[in-house]
Assembly symmetry: C2
């Protein structure tokens, strides 16, 4: 089973690495990081580069693909963009096409989420609707072979749920224990519904989404 995680400049590292750390433990899985060009791909802050071992042309037909989000997403929305071209072709033979955070906007721009329930980063829900999907406020959403997750850290939850669908509950539970995923955040501030208003408001005001 080949799993390809697409990278692009200014992606969000945890969007990619969270699910990777889960997929990585599937029996028989080969995970490949791919980008337009192979080599180091810098994330949103510039402080971290993940090494793409493949370019898109090397991995035309993954079984599963994952598109992370991040500020760089905005540069990959046009139909002629190489990521879009690869995504649309690869999606035709995937068993699962997945996204984390604003990666869902890239799937939507490719026409893959048309009229589908889907989710994305909390600040990008309206944008996802404008692109033709039906935004749902869930941690992750499965619809047919499409799995979308909320922002950044949500990819871990989605990847565990996908593990259960593909490999069974016991494998998913094993992986959860291997990564000791027993979350105990020191605050209850991970959603706009629970975070203090003085924390939510400035982020809304500074959002890159209208």
């Amino acid at each position: 089973m080949q799993i390809v995680i697409a990278l692009f400049e200014r992606f969000t590292s945890l969007d990619a690495v969270g699910p990777y750390q889960v997929f990585n433990h599937w029996p028989g899985a080969e995970v490949i990081f791919a980008s337009e060009r192979s080599g180091p791909t810098r994330d949103e802050s510039g402080s971290l580069a993940l090494h793409a071992d493949a370019c898109y042309a090397d991995v035309p037909a993954p079984d599963i693909l994952l598109i992370p989000g991040g500020p760089g997403q905005a540069a990959h929305m046009s139909q002629a963009d190489p990521l879009q071209t690869w995504l649309k072709a690869a999606d035709q033979t995937t068993t699962w096409t997945t996204s984390v955070c604003t990666g869902a906007l890239i799937l939507a721009a490719a026409g893959l989420l048309e009229a589908r329930p889907a989710t994305t980063y909390w600040l990008a829900m309206d944008e996802l609707a404008r692109l033709g999907a039906k935004p749902v406020q869930e941690r992750y959403v499965f619809d047919g072979k499409y799995a979308t997750s909320a922002g950044v850290s949500a990819g871990i939850d989605m990847a565990l749920a996908l593990s259960a669908k593909i490999a069974g509950d016991e494998v998913a539970q094993r992986i959860q224990l291997v990564i000791e995923y027993d979350p105990q955040p020191p605050f209850n501030s991970g959603s706009p519904a629970t975070a203090p208003q003085e924390v939510v408001a400035p982020l809304r005001a500074a959002s890159r989404f209208p």
Copy 2:
């Protein structure tokens, strides 16, 4: 404020990238990935390389350092190892010295956790005791300037708690919302105390720690 995340061959990616994604959003923070040699450093599976932008000699005096864990930890326990040499010197001027997962064993081998309460990966608690620390079953433990966290994903919780100590609760809450850290694992299997016994037992049997 300079934060150095140390990399070594066969580290666990999420140990490093989880806290990074949090530190990254601190006002005024510069995060640098460093390894014995700069360039790509492969993780435990070989499927992902993170790019080290610095070698240890480039970053002798970070304000904060973080040591991830992973199977590669075992190769960095001897006193003459370059990671140990750097760690012991750098620790003398840090404001915080931190670890995720079996990274705590590397801190302990350096003598930094002697008689201190500390935590590590659930399978490595006895090993941590043998190395002179006092293992505590907590998600993360602060003792003086030392912060240790449990396995893999626990680094995210520790980094948020450290954010609050350094930059205040509101900054930590903002970062939690930015990474939409509202965890909803599909199973309750992230700790040996809650995972099904048939999941725990084979992992204990296969553990690299006696």
